[in-house]
Symmetry: C2
Subunit: 286 residues, 2 copies
């Protein structure tokens, strides 16, 4: 078809998806074009604005590396990640809520024995993390895989400024579903804002901060993998998390203790923090 | 706000744009989030599909270089470029129609005297291109800047396989609004389909071809810059151009002549093609 105009173009584009290789490819392509064209019709971008959009996407792509995922940041900052999360995790009562995955997970993190220190020489107040993994009804799940990762006390992840991995590791729950480790107390932090997403936030008049949290990804045979955080109670960004990820059920005190015997028996000569969370997984297919 | 769910999230995201630095940034951000979230709600992507989308955008970004613009290809192949073009060029009667810019324009192309040969040693049937530039009423426009660029006879642009520029150049119309050059007869070609956009077309069951054409960008003081193509009559892809760019008013015969005296006086010992187009520009602000 020729002589397409702003009124006839969308139908013609959609008609070209007739021979898509799968029904899902056709469905997604059609919906994408309908919504994308509706967006363009609503804002009527100038040619210059279209060029700026192409440039923004290009710079976002060029910012992506094995240590930085700017498109995930973009998805997070526009609320898309939390929307996809919400759609995919309509959780039954009693199961731990999920939140965004974030851009800082590293697949190759080391395995540790429960109770290990994962600070790798990083300074700052020590924090004991203990947790349990159980099913929806509180029945312990042994040998669950617990990945955790977090920022340091200044809000940076290892991959942002170290050549080595730190403050992340993979654990396994014991026969009673328990695991623990020693880390440092994380702090609130800005998402990386020296790239296109940072420029977007500035244009939108938004701060780039996330409240302090520890990431968890917990999987076990027969259960849906849980991707979530535990947030620090009292953090000033709990109500304005730049990626919209805070849920009340995921907030816990990161309790500061004076010197003495920590809950795992360690003798502490300096003050330390303590975080405990009981995770409950959803049965697969439930 | 905390505990956002699939029903409350969109409003919360939009509320964060309250302090945007410009009304336009606020308007675009709001519309983007509304349409993007509506798309996500409609297709309900799985986490894996979301990851595939992130990966698709990342690979599209990584494919972009100073010689390849994969995001423009994506915009073209989804009909977005033609929609933006249509919205920005609601042309009065008598003015040459516009079409997509495409990804192969090079800002640093050389200037040539009218009548020059721009083939730079490229083989294939010679083609004489002549044109006039005038206003809406046919009044010649002297000293208009005429940028033209095109593929070779096998459908490749210089930047796709040469280290030098060829088949592109910048000309100026003479006192009668005329310009001309010697090139080669371009052919239909697939848009570059060895990247993410090619994979998308395959998934959508679409061919990647564009009908043979020559690109023109024509500017003159006091007139809106015209970005357009002239398409070859009879090309088999005129009705299924992968980027939806064909308009009947932009189709001309690329007439093949036998040996003899060409319209510009050149003696041709071999058959050659001849393309003529009369461009009419819109007055700026009209």
């Amino acid at each position: 078809m020729r002589d397409l105009n702003e009124h006839t173009l969308t139908d013609e584009v959609i008609s070209r998806f007739e021979n898509s290789t799968t029904p899902r490819a056709k469905q997604i392509s059609e919906a994408l074009v309908r919504h994308l064209h509706a967006f363009v019709r609503e804002i009527e971008p100038t040619q210059t604005e279209w060029e700026q959009a192409i440039d923004f996407l290009t710079r976002t792509g060029h910012m992506c590396s094995d240590k930085r995922q700017e498109f995930i940041l973009l998805s997070d900052a526009l609320g898309v990640s939390m929307l996809v999360d919400a759609i995919n995790h309509r959780m039954p009562e009693g199961v731990t809520e999920s939140t965004v995955f974030g851009p800082f997970y590293v697949d190759s993190a080391a395995e540790f024995e429960s109770g290990s220190d994962i600070t790798e020489g990083i300074e700052g107040m020590r924090m004991l993390i203990t947790g349990t993994v159980s099913d929806q009804h509180g029945q312990p799940i042994p040998n669950a895989t617990v990945d955790l990762w977090q920022s340091d006390t200044e809000g940076f992840y290892d991959v942002q400024r170290l050549d080595t991995l730190a403050l992340r590791g993979r654990f396994h729950s014991d026969a009673e579903g328990k695991f623990s480790c020693w880390s440092v107390r994380p702090s609130a932090y800005p998402i990386p804002n020296d790239g296109p997403v940072g420029q977007m936030l500035e244009l939108q008049g938004r701060h780039p901060y996330r409240p302090a949290h520890v990431h968890f990804m917990i999987g076990a045979d027969g259960y849906e993998t849980l991707v979530t955080h535990v947030f620090a109670a009292g953090d000033k960004y709990l109500d304005s998390d730049v990626v919209f990820g805070v849920k009340n059920s995921l907030i816990r005190d990161f309790v500061v203790h004076e010197t003495g015997t920590a809950p795992d028996g360690t003798e502490m000569a300096e003050p330390y923090a303590y975080l405990h969370y009981d995770f409950r997984l959803k049965k697969a297919g439930a």
